[in-house]
Amino acid sequence: EGARVVTLSGELDLATAPELRERLHRVLADGCPLIVLDLDEVGFLDSSAIGVLVGTRRRARQADGEVALVCTAPRILRVLELTGLDRAFPTYPSLSEALAVR
C-alpha cells in the first residue's frame, strides 16, 4: 500500500492545532502509517502545530510508518529549520520527490 498524501492549508496555530491533530490521527487510524504532508499551501505554522507533527510522527513510527514533509515556502521552511524538524523528518522540495522514495 502506498503513502497517503495530506494537503494542509491555512494558518496552523494553537487555534487550529486540535483539528489538525484529529485529522492526522484519523489517517493513522485508517491503517495508513505512511503520510506525506504537503505544507505548500500553509500560510503560518507555530510551535503548537509543530507539536502535532511531532506527535503524529511518533505514533506513525510505532506502527512502523513514517511522516514525510513537502515544503518549499521560505516562511514555513524557516520554522522547520528553527525547530529541527527539517532534519528530524524526511523533508522534500516537491510531492513527486517525496513519493519517489516511498
Binding site: 487555534a15 513510527r61 520554522v79 525547530t83
Partner: protein
C-alpha cells in the same frame, strides 16, 4: 499623535489570526522590517500570545482573563510587549530547549515556544510579577 498600536483581547485562540493581521499591518505601514522579518515577528508574537493564553486558561477559575499587546518602533527597532494576568512564572526555571539534533528530539511536542522567540528576536526579555508576565520582543531588520 502616535505610531503605537495597543490592544486588549480576551485570552482566546480565536484572536490569533487577527493579531497577526494587525501586526502585519503595523509592520508593513510603520516599520522597516523586510517581509522575512515580518514573518519572524508574527511567529514570535504568536508564541508569546499562545503562552499567555495557555497560562491564562490555567490560572483563571472565574472566566476569561485579558491579554494586552503593545507595538511601537524606536529607530528601526520594532518593540512588541505581550502582557498577561496569569500569575507570572520564572523564565530561568524552564527546562532548557531540546537540542534539535538529539536522538530524543521526537519526544518534544512542547517547550518550543520560548526557544523560537529567542531564535528570531534580537532581544527577548521577561518581567514577571505575582499578577502576571510581560514578554518584550525587539526585532531589528537584520536577523540575530
Amino acid at each position: 499623535m502616535s505610531d503605537e498600536v495597543a490592544i486588549d483581547l480576551p485570552a482566546r485562540v480565536e484572536y490569533l489570526n487577527a493579531v497577526r493581521s494587525l501586526l502585519t499591518a503595523f509592520a508593513e505601514s510603520t516599520t522597516d522590517l523586510p517581509p522575512s522579518r515580518v514573518d519572524d515577528l508574527c511567529l514570535a508574537v504568536t508564541e508569546a500570545y499562545v503562552n499567555a493564553i495557555d497560562a491564562s486558561r490555567k490560572h483563571s477559575e472565574f472566566g476569561e482573563l485579558s491579554i494586552r499587546m503593545c507595538c511601537h518602533r524606536e529607530g528601526n527597532a520594532v518593540i512588541v510587549e505581550v502582557t498577561d494576568h496569569a500569575g507570572g512564572f520564572d523564565p530561568a526555571a524552564q527546562t532548557p530547549p531540546p537540542d534539535p539534533t538529539a536522538p530524543d528530539r521526537l519526544q518534544f511536542e512542547r517547550g518550543l515556544g520560548i526557544p523560537l522567540m529567542r531564535a528570531v528576536a534580537n532581544v527577548l526579555e521577561f518581567e514577571s510579577t505575582a499578577d502576571g508576565s510581560l514578554v518584550r520582543l525587539v526585532l531589528m531588520p537584520q536577523r540575530p
